[in-house]
Symmetry: D4
Subunit: 169 residues, 8 copies
C-alpha cells in the first residue's frame, strides 16, 4: 500500500473509480514516493459518487493541488468529469477492466471534445507509472529543483536497460 504523506501538503491528487483499480494505481504512488512528491489518494466514482467527485474536482485547486490523476476502466468517464470541474491538468489512466482489454477505457478517456483535454497515458500499469512521471514533469515546469531528479530517474532507466543487456552476452 502507498504511504500517506501526512506532513506535507499534497501536490498531486490521485483518484480512481473503484478499489479494484488500486492494484494498478499504486504504481503512481511508488513513483511519486521515489520523487518525494506529496500526494493524496481517493476512491471516487464518476457515476456512483457524482456529487463527491465534482466537489473534489472543484476544490482541488484551492486545496493547493497542482495536478490530478484519474484512473478508471470500462466507459471511463472519471478523468473527463474531473476535467469538466477543474482547470488543473488532468491525467487519465485507462484501466483494463472489461473483456475489451482496455480499448473501451482508452477511447473513453482520450477522445475528449475540443477544449476539454485529458492527458491520456498508456493502458494499465505502464500508464500508472507514466501518469506519475508526467505529473512530476508538469510540477517541474514551475519548480526547477525537480528537474535534476527527473534526469537522474531517466539515467537510472537507461542504466537498467543497458545493465539488463550485459548478462545476455
Amino acid at each position: 500500500m502507498c504511504a500517506k504523506k501526512a506532513l506535507q501538503k499534497p501536490l498531486v491528487g490521485i483518484i480512481m473509480g473503484s478499489k479494484s483499480d488500486l492494484e494498478i494505481m499504486r504504481e503512481v504512488c511508488i513513483v511519486l514516493d521515489s520523487f518525494n512528491i506529496p500526494y493524496e489518494m481517493n476512491i471516487l466514482s464518476a457515476h456512483r459518487t457524482p456529487e463527491q467527485t465534482s466537489a473534489y474536482a472543484k476544490g482541488a485547486e484551492k486545496k493547493g493541488l497542482k495536478v490530478l490523476i484519474a484512473g478508471a476502466g470500462c466507459a471511463a468517464h472519471l478523468a473527463g468529469v474531473i476535467t469538466s470541474h477543474s482547470i488543473l491538468p488532468v491525467i487519465g489512466v485507462p484501466i483494463n477492466a472489461s473483456p475489451l482489454n482496455g480499448l473501451d477505457a482508452l477511447l473513453s478517456t482520450v477522445q475528449m471534445p475540443g477544449g476539454m483535454p485529458v492527458a491520456t497515458v498508456s493502458i494499465g500499469k505502464a500508464g500508472a507509472k507514466n501518469a506519475a512521471i508526467l505529473a512530476v514533469e508538469i510540477l517541474a515546469t514551475g519548480d526547477k529543483a525537480i528537474r535534476p531528479k527527473l534526469r537522474r530517474y531517466r539515467a537510472r532507466l537507461s542504466k537498467a536497460v543497458l545493465d539488463s543487456g550485459k548478462d545476455i552476452h
Copy 2:
C-alpha cells in the same frame, strides 16, 4: 426543425452534447411527434456545461419527465453523467463525430460499470430513431393507450418493407 410541444407537459427529455448533433437527434423528435408524445430538447454538454447538465438531470424526475435521451459523440460521457444524477431510464445515442466512426462513442456510452445502466442504441440516425421508439415502449409499460400506436407503427414498418419488395419483381 422539431416542433416545440408547448401545451403538453413533456414526458421525454432529449439532450445532446453539441448543436452539430442536431442533424442526427432530430430523428428522435420526428418519431415522438408521430406518436404525439410531448418532449423537450436541450443542448447540454457533460464537459462544457457540467453544472447545467447535472442540474437538468437532477430536476428531470420532479419536472415530470419519464425518460431521458442523450446523444453525444467522441468520448461520449453525456448519457453516463445524466445517469449518475437521475434514476429515470437514460437512453444513449452514440454519434459518429470523430475519425473513429462512432466506435469511441459506442464504447463510451455502453460500457457503463455495474449498477449504472445506459440503454444504448445503434450509432447515428438509426440509433436516434431507435431511442425514440424505445422511449415510447417504456412509456407504454405504464400507459396501455400507447400500445396500439406501437403496433400500428410496427405494421407500417412491415408494410413498407413488403411494399418495397413489390417493384423489384
Copy 3:
C-alpha cells in the same frame, strides 16, 4: 441459483441463449430479488428454438410481463429476434462467449436497424447487473413506489465506494 418467484406474477422475463450464459445472467436475478421484483427465467435460443422463442416473445405482453431481458453471445441475435415479436422494451446483454471478447455480441445486439430498438447494456456481468437496474428504472416510470428503492440502491452504491476509500488511508 436464482430463487423462483412462485407467488407473484412475474413482471420481467429473462431469457438467455444457452445454459452457459447462466453464470452471467444470474446477476440479473440477484438484483431483481433485492428489489423484490418478480421475474421468470428461461433458456431460449434465437437459432435453436426459433418457434419457442417467437412464441415466448409474442405472448410476453399478454402474460403481464413489462420488460424483457435477453442475454446472448457470439452473433447475439436473441434480443433482436425478441424485439421483432414484441412491443415491450427489450434489454440486450452482450455476453463474452467467443474469442472476440464480446465485441461480436455487442455489435450484434446494439446495431439494430431504425425502428427496432434493443436497449443494450455493457458486456458480461456488469451488463447483467445493469440490465436488471434498467428494468427496475423502467418499471418505476409507471410505479412510483419503486423509486425510493432505486434511490436507496444508489445510496448504497455510493456509500460502498466512499467506504472502500477509507481503508486506503
Copy 4:
C-alpha cells in the same frame, strides 16, 4: 435491375433486409443470370417482417429452392434467422450499411453458435458476387452439368487478369 426468371422454377432464393441493399445484391442476379440459374428475389426483414421471413424460410425447401442467399447490414440477423427455420444451406452477405464499415454486419453474420451455420462471404459487392458463385458451386455438387460452366467462369476470370496485365507493358 435483375431479370425475373418467370419460366423456370427458381433454385436460389435471394432475400435482403432493405431495398437499399439492392444495389449490392443485384451482383448476385448478374452472376446467376450468366449461369442461367433460375432464382427469385424478395425483400424481407428479420426484424420488421419476422412472420413473413420465417414463413419464407420454412417454405423454401418445399418450394424447390436449393440454396438461400441473405444480404443484410448493421446487426445483420437475417441470414441467421433464415438458418433457424431451414435446413437449406444459407449464404450470408454482410452489407456495409453503418458507420462501422460492415464490421458489425460481418460479425453478426459469421459468428453463429455451434450447429447453426451461415456460409459467410466478403463484405459488400465482392461478397454478393461470391455468394452467387458459392450457390452455383453448391448446386454443382448435385448437378454435374453445371461444372463445366464453373470452369469456364474461372477461365474467364483468369484470362481477364492476364489480359489486364498486357497493357501495363
Copy 5:
C-alpha cells in the same frame, strides 16, 4: 481422435494447416461421424506444402469429394488457396491461433475477392461444428435422404436447449 472411414469413399475432404489445429478440427469429424458421412482428413499447409496443397485441391473433384473444409489460423490462406484450385464449395474455419484472437484468421478467410468464394463460418470450435453441418446441408441439396437426419439434428439441438432450461426452475 476421429475415426478413419475406411470402407466408404469420402465425400468431404477436411484439411488443416497444422497439427495444432486438430483440437479444433476434430469437431468436424465428430459431427460428420454422427451423420455417417464419410470423410478424409489431411494436414496440408498453404505455405509450407504448397505443391501438395494445390495437388490435393486439383484432385479433389475427380476423387469424388463433394465439399472441402479448410481450417487455418493467423494469415489463414489455406481455404483461399484451395478455392483457387477447385470448383468444389470450400468452407473456411478461422482458427484462433495468434495474439489477435482469430480476427486475423477471420478476415484472411472471409474477405475473398469477387468470384472466388470461401464459405466462412465462426472462429474456433463453434465454427468447426458449423463447417460440418454446412457440409451436410450442401450434400443434402443433392441427396434427399440426408434431410431427415438434418431435421433430427435440429430437433436434438432444440430439445437440448429446452431441457437445459428445465432445471433452472
Copy 6:
C-alpha cells in the same frame, strides 16, 4: 497561418512530422494566440530528420520552452522520440493520416512504455485544440496569472453551448 510571436520568448514548442499536418496543428496556434502564450512552430520528422529532431528536443529546456506539443500520423513516433530526449512534458496529437482513421497514430502515441510518458489527446482537430489548452493548464500550474484566462475560456465554451441551445426552441 499562425502568427509568429517574434517579440516574446516562446514557452511552447510545437512540432509536426509533415507539412500536411499543418491544417490540423494550426488549431494549436489559434488557441495559444487567444491566450497570448508565445510559441514557436517547426516541422521535424522522427524518421526523416532524426538528428534535427533529437537536437531540438535536447535543446528545448535550455531555450526556455516549458511544454512541447508533437503532432504526427501513421506510426506516430514523433512525440515518443521527443520524450526520449527531454524531461519537459510532451503532448502528443495523433493525426488521422492513413486509411486506418488515426487508430494507428493513437496507439503509436499513447501506448508508451513505463517511465516515458506522452500526454496524449484526441485524434485530429479536437486533439490539436486540446493540446493547446492542456499546455496552458500546465503553464498555469506555475503561473497563477493564467488561471483566470482559463476560467474565462471555460465560461465562453459553456456560454456557447447554452446559446446554441436557445435557437432550437
Copy 7:
C-alpha cells in the same frame, strides 16, 4: 505509367493482384526508376491465376530477380503465396481495397506462420513507396554501389522536411 526497363535484366519483380492496384503500385516504379533499378511488373492473382502465380514465383530466382514485391487488397494472399514458392525476400504491400480500410489486407499479409516471412510495409501508397526503398536496401546489402544513392535519397527526404518548415515562419 511506369517505364519498362527493357535493356537491363530486372532485379525486382513487382506483382499485383488486380489492375485496380496499379494506382498504388506505380509508386514502386517511380522510386525504383529514381534509383535506376531495373524491374518488371505483372498482374497476377493468388486466386484467379494460381498456376501463373506459382510458376512466376518458382521461376523468379532463376530469372535473376533478387527481390519480389506483391501488392494486394482484401484477403491479401498474394505475398504469402509467392513466399510459399520462392526463397527470395518477398515484400507485401497491403492495399486498402475493401470497406475495412485495409485492416483485412494488413492482417492477411503480415500474420504469416513461423518460417514463411512476408516483409510487410504500410497500407497503401506510403507502403508502395516503402516497398521500393526496402527492395533497394536489400539489393544494397550485396551491392555497395547503391548505398550512396540511399544516403542521397535520405538526405533529400530530410531536406524536403526542413525546407517545408521554412515557409511556415
Copy 8:
C-alpha cells in the same frame, strides 16, 4: 539462451527494447544458429537509451552488419528509430506486451511514413522466427551459398507438416 557467435564477425544485429522481450526474440537466435549466421544481440530502448540506440544504428553498417532486427512491444518505436539512422534493411518484430494483444505494436511498427520502411513480420514468436528467415533470405540475395540451406529449411518445414499428418490416419 542464445549462444554468442564470438569468432565470426556478426552479419545480423538483433536488438530488443526490454529484457522481457528476450523470451520471444531468442527464436531469432535459434534460427540464425541453425543457419550458422553470425549475429550479435543487444538490449536497447528507443525511449530509455535513445543515444545508445541511435549510435548503434549509425555504426551498424560500418561494423559490417548487413541486416538489423528490432523487437518491441506497446508503442513499438524501436524499429522505426533504427531505420531513421541506418540504410540497412530493418526488420520489425511486433511483440504482444500490452493488454491490446500486440495490435499497438503491429501498427506502431508497420505504418511507417513513405520513404522509411520497416519490414514488419507477424506478432510474437512466429514473427521472431520469420524475422530470422527473412534476414537469411536477404543475406542470400548477395551470397548464393546460403540458398541451398534455405531450400533445405523449407524442405524440412514441408516434411514436418506431411509427417505430422501421417499419425492422424
